[in-house]
Every structure is written in structure tokens, then in C-alpha cells.
């Protein structure tokens, strides 16, 4: 049944090519079906695989459905579902979004290195089409080039892995003993290859242009696609390569955090400012994944979930504002609901108490201290300090500055969604288990290589 997650959006994408007008409803249909499929198979708690063409692993291509990929797929599809509720945002991008959805799901579910490369390429290319909305062509082009380079490096890493182990199956590769020098090459190349999508410094030059270029790209790329990419970081470095090369990720991630926040501080464009903030948060997540323990990884994805929800609200509101107002001073006086949601989401981002971000940030710092890492918490707190600066500055500007007489209608659907999600952030503060439970299961599944190998290589069920 899990292959449906990829098959349905893919199929509907091709159908909608023929009937263009159906693209929007079909996208909605695909999102609803995917959510239904996922909700029907709630946390498998074991490793299930779905082989393609009855080639048993390690041969052929298989999809792996365990707690980790389930949770990642859930988050990914959840944001696609939210986007599909807003038809004016989707416009003529239904086909691209369906393809992106298929690719993101495939990227998350696949258990094969080469297959993951293919999905990553589809993901990048469709993401580029989404990014080019509102004639944002140059930035989309930059993204295409960087994505292309990343793809080829990812492919190179896959080739190296194949040469070193003779297999492309992730479980099989993780069993093999790889010589130290090959491991260095493979993990470095994977780190760079994923680094572009995972927004690691200095491979994240595309982010501000793409996220700041239109209102659809940040909402979906900054949430779903980010989550998928960062899931793969955990899968490769946690499960497959057992933490080899984590030092590189850690160093790059710490630099990313500071660089991202500093760049966000100077940014005058609302969308771009929070694009850089999402760079910084990706840094936090990657640095935490590089710690390698199941708790650390679980907390990383907990933080990422909180961040994705907050960013969805922020980008949704920011996209609406940037494309409806020339002067943003005091606009929230006219859009109180949007404003309240935006403020709550940004406060969650900073980690103020009463919001979800507090739970994840404090847990991460606490975990780091118990691991006797004193540098990362210091970096994180310094980053938060800078974050306070621009978050408060934007909130004050949008709420309190003298308003102009521009006027736009209140977006009902977007406003409702933003409000619900920001209240969800408050709910997560009160009851962190809403996200934490799933994220911890994900962390456990990613760190437990043995279980993964056992599940993939011994049990064969399902089929297509």
C-alpha cells in the first residue's frame, strides 16, 4: 500500500497534464489520498519493505516503511495537504506540486541509494519550476545549477559506495565493511550532495533567492522538501554510515547557524529574512543529527517539526503581505488574525515559553550538556540572541509602525490555517508528546541499524 504514496501523485500528475483544468482538484485528491494512506498505517513500529518487481533485497529496488520514514512521510504529506487547501496559491502549479510530492515521498521511502538519487533529481527539478513562479527566473536558475551540481556529487557518492560495497541497497551497504579511505570519500560527497538541499553553508546560496522570490516556494520547499532532505541526512549518516563523517556535518552546521542568523539580521525583505532563519534552523538540526544518538536525532526532528510548522505560518503570512502591500509598516493592524499567528510562530522560532520552539530548543541544549558538548549550546544561544533581534524588530514593525492606507482583503483560508497551526504550536508547548513521540520513534528507528538491516534483508512482504 505504501507505494501508493508515490504512485498516486505521479499518476494524477500525468492525468492532469491532459486535463489542465483538473490539476488543482487532482492535487487536492492526491494530498487527501496520501494523508489517508498514512493515517491508515499509523506508526508501523517495525521495518516493512515493499519490493519492486519481486526482486528480493539486496537486489532490485525496495521501499522501506519504518517509524522513521513514516514520520517523515507524514510531515511531508501534511504540508502538501495544507498547500492543497489553498487553491489560489497552487494556481497553475498543480502538476509540479504533484510531481514534487511523488518525488519527496519516494525520496523518503526508498531503500536504495541510486533510487534516492533519482528522486532527488526529480525533486530538485520540480522544485525549480515551483521556484520560478512570479518570474523569479534568475534565482530558480541558480537553484537549478546548484541542485544539478549537488545531484552529480550525490551520484558520484553513490557510485563510490557501489564500488566499495558492490551494492546499492542501503541496508546492504550499511552491513558492509568499507575501507577507511573510501568511507571518507563517500561520506564527504554525500555531505556535499545533501548539503545543498539541507541548506548547509556554503552550499545554501540559493535559499534566499528561491524562498524570497514568490509565495509558494517557501511554503512548500521550506517545510516538506526541507524535511525530506534532512530526513535523508539522518538516514545516511545515522543508519547507513554509522556516524562516519559526522564531524564535517557538525562543523559545517555550526557555521551555518551563525552565518544564517547574521544574514537574516541584515535582511530588509521579510521573506528573505526568514529564509535565512530557516537556513540557521537547518544548521541546528544537522548539527544535532551529527551527534548520532537516537535521542539526539529524535530531538533534531522534533525541532525540525516545530520549525516547519512555525515556518509554514511565517511564510504563508509573509508571502501574503509581501505580494499585497508595498509598505509593510503596521499591516497587522488590518490583519489581526494573520498578525497574531505570525507573532506566535516567530516567538516559537525564538523559543519563547508558551510555544513549541521552547520545548525543542531547551531539550536540545539539555541533551547537549549531558553529552558534554559546551560549544554547540553556546552557538545556539548566541544565534537565538540574534534571532530575538530580528524577530522583535519585524514584529514591532509589522504591528506598531504607522500604517499606510493600502488595503487588501483578509485571506480566509490562509488565515484560518495560520491560526490553527499557531495554536498547534501552543498545544505542543503544553503537551510536547504531540510531536515528540513521533520524532523520538523516528530517532530510534534511524539510530537502530541492526533492526533496519534485519527488517530489510530477512522479511519480504507486500509487492507490486
Amino acid at each position: 500500500m505504501i507505494s501508493l504514496l508515490i504512485a498516486i501523485p505521479l499518476l494524477l500528475a500525468f492525468v492532469s497534464v491532459m486535463w489542465k483544468r483538473l490539476a488543482k482538484p487532482l492535487f487536492f485528491l492526491a494530498a487527501v489520498t496520501n494523508m489517508t494512506v498514512l493515517l491508515a498505517s499509523w506508526f508501523p513500529n517495525s521495518v516493512e519493505i515493499h519490493v519492486m518487481g519481486s526482486w528480493k533485497p539486496p537486489f532490485g529496488i525496495n521501499l522501506v516503511f519504518d517509524n522513521a520514514s513514516f514520520y517523515a512521510a507524514l510531515v511531508v504529506n501534511f504540508f502538501f495537504f495544507l498547500v492543497s487547501l489553498m487553491p489560489n496559491l497552487v494556481e497553475s502549479y498543480g502538476v509540479s506540486l504533484m510531481l514534487l510530492m511523488a518525488a519527496a515521498n519516494g525520496f523518503v521511502l526508498t531503500g536504495d541509494l541510486f533510487n534516492s538519487f533519482v528522486f532527488m533529481e526529480i525533486m530538485t527539478i520540480t522544485a525549480v519550476t515551483v521556484a520560478s513562479r512570479r518570474e523569479n527566473f534568475y534565482n530558480a536558475f541558480k537553484y537549478l545549477i546548484l541542485g544539478g551540481i549537488a545531484g552529480s556529487i550525490y551520484l558520484l557518492a553513490t557510485i563510490f559506495a557501489y564500488t566499495a560495497t558492490g551494492s546499492l541497497n542501503m541496508a546492504h551497504v550499511s552491513m558492509a565493511t568499507i575501507s577507511a579511505s573510501s568511507l571518507v570519500a563517500i561520506t564527504t560527497l554525500y555531505a556535499i550532495g545533501l548539503g545543498v538541499e539541507a541548506k548547509l553553508f556554503p552550499l545554501n546560496g540559493w535559499v534566499s533567492g528561491v524562498y524570497g522570490g514568490n509565495d509558494l516556494a517557501p511554503v512548500i520547499l521550506g517545510t516538506s522538501v526541507s524535511f525530506a532532505a534532512l530526513y535523508m541526512v539522518g538516514r545516511l549518516f545515522g543508519t547507513v554510515f554509522h556516524g562516519s563523517g559526522a564531524g564535517v556535518l557538525y562543523t559545517l552546521a555550526l557555521i551555518t547557524i551563525i552565518i544564517g542568523e547574521v544574514a537574516a539580521l541584515r535582511q530588509q525583505n521579510l521573506l528573505k529574512a526568514f529564509a535565512y532563519s530557516s537556513v540557521a534552523q537547518a544548521g541546528v538540526v544537522v548539527a544535532m543529527i551529527s551527534k548520532g544518538t537516537s535521542r539526539a536525532m529524535g530531538l533534531a526532528y522534533f525541532h525540525l517539526t516545530n520549525d516547519a510548522v512555525a515556518k509554514f505560518v511565517i511564510f504563508l503570512v509573509a508571502g501574503f503581505l509581501v505580494y499585497n502591500y508595498k509598505n509593510l509598516n503596521g499591516v497587522f493592524k488590518k490583519h489581526k488574525v494573520l498578525g497574531a499567528s505570525f507573532s506566535m510562530a516567530t516567538f516559537s522560532l525564538v523559543g519563547f515559553p508558551l510555544f513549541a520552539g521552547f520545548q525543542s530548543k531547551l531539550r536540545i541544549i539539555m541533551e547537549l550538556f549531558s553529552m558534554k558538548d559546551y560549544l554547540f549550546p553556546a552557538v545556539m544561544l548566541l544565534a537565538t540572541l540574534i534571532e530575538v533581534g530580528y524577530v522583535v524588530r519585524w514584529n514591532v514593525k509589522l504591528w506598531f509602525e504607522e500604517e499606510t492606507d493600502e488595503k487588501a482583503d483578509n485571506p480566509i483560508v490562509a488565515g484560518t490555517l495560520a491560526l490553527i497551526l499557531s495554536l498547534l504550536l501552543v498545544a505542543v508547548f503544553i503537551k510536547p508528546e504531540i510531536f515528540l513521540g513521533g520524532a523520538m520513534k523516528m530517532g530510534n528507528a534511524l539510530a537502530d541499524t541492526k533492526d533496519y538491516i534485519h527488517g530489510v534483508l530477512s522479511v519480504v512482504k507486500g509487492g507490486m
Binding site: I145, V196, V248, F347, K372, V388, V392, V396, F400
Partner: protein
């Protein structure tokens, strides 16, 4: 009602208040005031030692507990907040965001109470952030400059808060607990001075930032100076005291004399405490000198808050029984005085719409009650008997003299003399002197606004005569923290406060003052009254030249000849070219901005080919490092 239930229901109520205020902001303000009155009665009825669980976080119990310190600080805070809430019932009609103001001030009250009740460092942090966040959202409701003020306030406060958080987790990692008293117990037996000192200073930095101690004092001028006028009373009278509370926790609840007994610096005071005392002394100097210079009356008192924060820190930092009690009592005195002063200013601004001293004058005839409130408050602030402000300063001096800390004592005296200078400036400029023509129709503020001021003044006066009700919980705190000796300093049966070099009998002093006052009044009635001459008045219509002239020139800008323009010019000239710490911090902020610019230019703006270059370079560097 359990403590946790109280706080959570306050937070929820604040949101309800918002919606009520949307319908009628006055109803919201009145409800707020009633809730405040209820809280005061609740606080007085609570028994010391009550605890309550808030939940667990990361396997650590989050606990609230009611101690002498919680009682004292909560009562002082509520006194200030409730006065401002009453004041706001009328004052809010001059404001743009009354509904949000009502919500956030209640939220901030909940946050502050939570801070004082917290039994562990994380609970303290949570409520601390709630208080900071909600107060930070009130600050930008003022005039244009207040927007920038909110950002600076948030960042400065956060810099202290995050250092505190780092210290809290450092302590947790070392001692496996977040409970303050348990951490204190572990720290006494911890052999590593370095880590203990690090934890101590990191925890203290939250208090330093919040109570406006050098080097994190600069936000007070801009935030207190530009916040909505009545809210400055809360900022300066109450919120700053959150910082004093944290400083007291780090210095006294963690028994610094025992923890750092191995690094004595001077007269039995450990180096760590002495460091804080030095910061406090610096704050007194800076606060006093800068306050003397200000033409903006709110900024003037903001700097005075810096200086008074220094007194509190010095008093507590000595860990001497006299000094500790003096410092803690000064919390009360400064809270009341600053609240009254800012409310008096808010009343003046409410009627005249300006806070520049040189644009005002002669309001004593128009706003006599406000004048009286201000007069009594500055008497207390400057530490002149019989107001309560004298007692705390006297106790701090006693401790400094006993410890032989002459430099600090000298600075404290200097600050006291300086405070005469700066509190006199608004008195002379705003209330005395000539009434500008444009204010000839100004009226006294309505009773809703002057009643809270006068109530606080009466409380301050009564405590000045009979300080024992306030000193008793302070002595309770001192016993809780085990600051020897166990003998009572406040001896209410003999009406005495027993000092090192003699005792103080406040009742006797008050009676002497009354006698002096009566004599002065008799003399006043015996001699002829002064005549009122209108110097600037006799011009017929607006814009026409005034009938006085100097050097053959008509005067078109009488403000410049106002005696309050450059009031202390001679004195100010002595330190005209002083180095500015604000500029240093601005440079730091600019550094981060420029760093962002640099990063943007190098990594985020370039063309695709440059990106390819960075990717290749990264690959090469990583390979080079790892091979």
C-alpha cells in the same frame, strides 16, 4: 488555590481580558485592577512554605514554592502594578492600544509572580521570559522612538537571559538538579572554583541585564524613556526588580560567602561578590552623572534607576546582615519612589503632551497634587528622612563602613549627593518657575490617577516612620539564607533599627521633622508672602515679540532663556567628553550587521559560477582535513 493554578489561570484570564477590552477597554482595565486587588489579598494570606507542582520537564520537577523572598518581592511588585492598573483606568484613554495593554500587563504580572515563586532555575526562566515578552510588547505602544526601544530592550534582556540559561544547564549538568536550594547545597561542597564562579556569574548576568547594571544598563534609558508613560512606572518600579531578585538568588540563596570562601578579596568578601559590587559602584557613577545631564524627565529617572540598581546590588553583594537588609529594603523604596515619579510624569504628559523639562514649568499651581506626589517621591529617592528611602541607604552605608569599604562607600555617598542634583532638576523645571502660556488651561489629573500616586506616597511615608512591617519579612529572608548573625536588626519593641555605629529611631526622627516643619510653617506665616510677577507674559497675541529684551534684541525664543535649559551646564562641562558605553554596544551591533553584509556579499549574492567555486572549495577543504 494552588500556586500553579493561580498562575495558569492568570495567563488564561489575560487573553479573556483582551477580548473584554475589545468591547470596552475600561471594563478590561477595571477588571484588571480588581484582579490585582485580589492578588494582593491572596499574597498576604499565603503561608510561607506552600509548594505546588507545575509539571515535569525533561524528567525534572518544575516547582513553585512560597518563601519570605517570594512574599516580599510579590507584595512590592503587586503594589506597583495595582497602582498603575488603577492609574490606567483613566490614563488609557490617551493610548492607542488599550486592549493589548490590558492583556499584556496582566500576563506580565503572572510572569513576575512566577519568577518570585520559582523553586528551580527552569521555572524561573519560563516565567521570566513570559514577563519579558509581555512587557516587551507594551514598550512599542509609545511614541515613534519606542519601536527601536523595544528591540534594544529585547536584545539586551535576552543577552542576560541566555547567559543565565547556559549557567543553569551548566549547573544541571554538574549537579544533576535544577532546584535552586539543591544547587546551592552542591555548590558548597564542589571543589572546583572555576566552574562555580562560571555558574555564579552566568546566573547573575540575567539579573545584571534586567536590573540595569553596568555594562548592560543602556537599555534603561531608551526603554524606560520611550515606553508608554504609565508603563515606565512598572518597568522601573517593578520589572527591574526581577533582576534584583535574580541577583539576590545568585548571591544569597546560593550562599556565596561559603561557596567562594576560598577566594576572599577584601574584608571577607569573595572576589565574585566584589566583582558584582564593583559593577554596582560603576552603575551608581554612570547612572548619577548621566541622570544629571538629561533634559528628558523620563530618561533622567531611567538613569536614576541604573544608580539605584547599583545600591541594591552593593547592599546585597556585601552579604553583611545590615547591607543585605538595606539592599533588599531599597528594592521596596526604589520601587515605590520610581513608580510614583513615573506616574507623576505620566500625569504631566497626559495633560501637557511633552516630556522635555525645558518646555515645562510652573505646574505647581495647576497640578498641586501631582507636584506633592513627586515631591515626596524624590525625597524618598534621594534618601532624605523621614521618608523610607533614607533607612535603606543608611543601612547600606552602615554595612560599607563596617566592612571598611571606603571607596565603595564614597561612591555611594557621591551617588546620594548626585541624586539631590538630578531629582531637583524636574522639580524646578516642571513644577516650579514660570508657567508657559500654552499651559494656562492645564488642569489637575482626575482622582483615579492621583489616588494611586498618593497611596504609594502615604505608604512610603508610613514605612519611613514605622519600617518594621517591611523589615520583618526581610529578616525572615535573611534567616532563610542563613546570613549571620541571627540577632534581629529591626527591634520593633524599642522602635529601633540597630546599626553598627549607633541606632536609628525612625519615630523619633519623624517627630523631630514635624517639629521642624511646624517651626518653618510659623516662620512662613510671619514673613510677607512673595509676589507673583509675570515675566514672559505681557505679549498681546501669539507670535508677537515679548516685552522684555536683551541687548536691544527682541526675544522670539524664550525657551532658550529658560533657566532649565542646560540646568547644570557648569557641572556637566566637567565630564562633557565622557566615553560612551552606548556607543561601544552600538559598535557591537554594527559589527553583526556588517558581518551579515559581508557574508551576504561573499556567499549569498554571487552568480552560479561562484557557487560552483564554493562547492568545489568546500569539497577540497573537507577532503584535505579528513584525509
Amino acid at each position: 488555590m494552588a500556586l500553579s493554578t493561580l498562575l495558569i489561570s492568570l495567563l488564561v484570564t489575560s487573553v479573556v481580558i483582551y477580548f473584554i477590552s475589545k468591547v470596552s477597554w475600561r471594563a478590561g482595565a477595571i477588571l484588571n485592577f480588581l484582579i490585582g486587588v485580589f492578588l494582593i489579598s491572596y499574597v498576604f494570606a499565603l503561608h510561607i512554605g506552600v509548594t505546588s507542582n507545575l509539571g515535569t520537564l525533561f524528567g525534572q520537577k518544575l516547582q513553585l514554592t512560597w518563601t519570605h523572598a517570594s512574599y516580599y518581592f510579590s507584595a512590592v511588585s503587586l503594589l506597583v502594578i495595582v497602582s498603575v492598573m488603577l492609574f490606567a483606568i483613566k490614563w488609557l484613554d490617551s493610548q492607542k492600544y488599550p486592549a493589548a495593554f490590558n492583556m499584556f500587563i496582566l500576563m506580565m504580572t503572572a510572569g513576575s509572580l512566577g519568577v518570585f515563586m520559582a523553586a528551580d532555575l527552569i521555572t524561573l526562566y519560563i516565567f521570566w521570559e513570559i514577563a519579558v515578552l509581555s512587557s516587551m510588547l507594551i514598550v512599542p505602544m509609545g511614541k515613534k522612538e519606542s519601536r527601536k526601544a523595544a528591540v534594544i530592550y529585547a536584545v539586551m534582556s535576552a543577552s542576560g537571559t541566555y547567559m543565565y540559561l547556559y549557567g543553569a544547564f551548566l549547573a544541571f549538568q554538574r549537579y544533576g538538579t535544577l532546584n535552586i536550594s539543591e544547587i546551592a547545597r552542591h555548590m558548597v561542597s564542589d571543589p572546583s572554583t572555576g566552574i562555580k564562579a562560571a555558574i555564579f556569574l552566568l546566573l547573575a548576568s540575567a539579573g545584571i541585564a534586567k536590573s540595569g547594571i553596568f555594562p548592560l544598563h543602556t537599555w534603561l534609558r531608551i526603554a524606560h524613556g520611550n515606553a508608554p508613560d504609565a508603563f515606565s512606572a512598572v518597568l522601573s518600579g517593578q520589572l527591574v526588580k526581577l533582576g534584583s531578585y535574580v541577583l539576590m538568588i545568585t548571591v544569597a540563596a546560593i550562599p556565596s560567602l561559603r561557596v567562594f570562601g576560598n577566594i576572599p578579596f577584601y574584608s571577607g568578601i569573595p572576589a565574585t561578590n566584589y566583582f558584582l559590587i564593583a559593577l554596582g559602584a560603576t552603575s551608581i557613577i554612570i547612572g548619577t552623572l548621566m541622570a544629571i545631564k538629561q533634559d528628558d524627565m523620563k530618561m533622567l529617572i531611567a538613569f536614576s534607576s541604573v544608580a539605584n540598581g547599583g545600591y541594591i546590588l552593593i547592599g546585597i553583594g556585601t552579604m553583611d546582615p545590615m547591607g543585605f537588609e538595606g539592599g533588599v529594603l531599597h528594592v521596596f523604596n526604589h520601587a515605590i519612589a520610581a513608580a510614583v515619579i513615573f506616574m507623576a510624569f505620566a500625569s504631566v504628559v497626559y495633560r501637557t503632551h511633552t516630556k522635555k523639562i525645558s518646555e515645562l514649568g510652573g505646574l505647581i499651581h495647576k497640578m498641586p497634587i501631582t507636584f506633592l506626589a513627586y515631591l515626596f517621591a524624590i525625597i524618598s529617592l534621594a534618601g532624605i528622612p523621614p521618608m523610607s528611602g533614607f533607612i535603606s541607604k543608611w543601612m547600606i552605608y552602615q554595612a560599607l563602613v563596617r566592612k571598611g569599604m571606603f571607596i565603595t562607600a564614597f561612591i555611594a555617598f557621591f551617588g546620594s549627593i548626585g541624586s539631590f542634583l538630578y531629582v531637583f532638576r524636574p522639580l524646578a523645571g516642571v513644577f516650579l518657575g514660570q508657567l508657559p502660556k500654552k499651559y494656562k488651561d492645564v488642569k489637575e489629573v482626575p482622582p483615579v490617577m492621583w489616588i494611586p500616586m498618593m497611596t504609594l506616597v502615604v505608604i512610603s511615608l508610613v514605612i519611613g516612620i514605622w519600617p518594621f512591617p517591611v523589615l520583618q519579612p526581610i529578616e525572615g529572608m535573611r534567616m532563610d539564607y542563613g546570613i549571620a548573625p541571627t540577632m534581629r536588626i529591626a527591634d520593633s519593641s524599642h522602635w529601633l533599627i540597630k546599626g553598627f555605629s549607633g541606632s536609628w529611631n525612625p519615630v523619633l526622627v519623624f517627630n523631630l521633622f514635624i517639629i521642624g516643619f511646624v517651626i518653618a510653617y510659623i516662620l512662613y506665616t510671619m514673613f510677607p508672602r512673595p509676589k507673583k510677577v509675570d515675566l514672559l507674559a505681557p505679549h498681546k497675541e501669539e507670535g508677537a515679540p515679548i516685552n522684555i529684551y536683551t541687548g536691544g534684541e527682541y526675544i522670539y525664543t524664550p525657551e532658550l532663556y529658560h533657566y532649565n535649559t542646560k540646568f547644570y551646564a557648569g557641572f556637566e562641562r566637567m565630564y562633557e567628553k565622557h566615553p560612551s558605553w552606548e556607543k561601544v554596544l552600538e559598535m557591537l551591533a554594527k559589527f553583526f550587521h556588517d558581518l551579515g553584509e559581508w557574508v551576504h556579499g561573499w556567499f549569498f549574492r554571487p552568480s552560479p559560477s561562484a557557487y560552483t567555486f564554493w562547492v568545489s572549495l568546500t569539497i577540497l577543504i573537507v577532503f584535505w582535513v579528513r584525509w
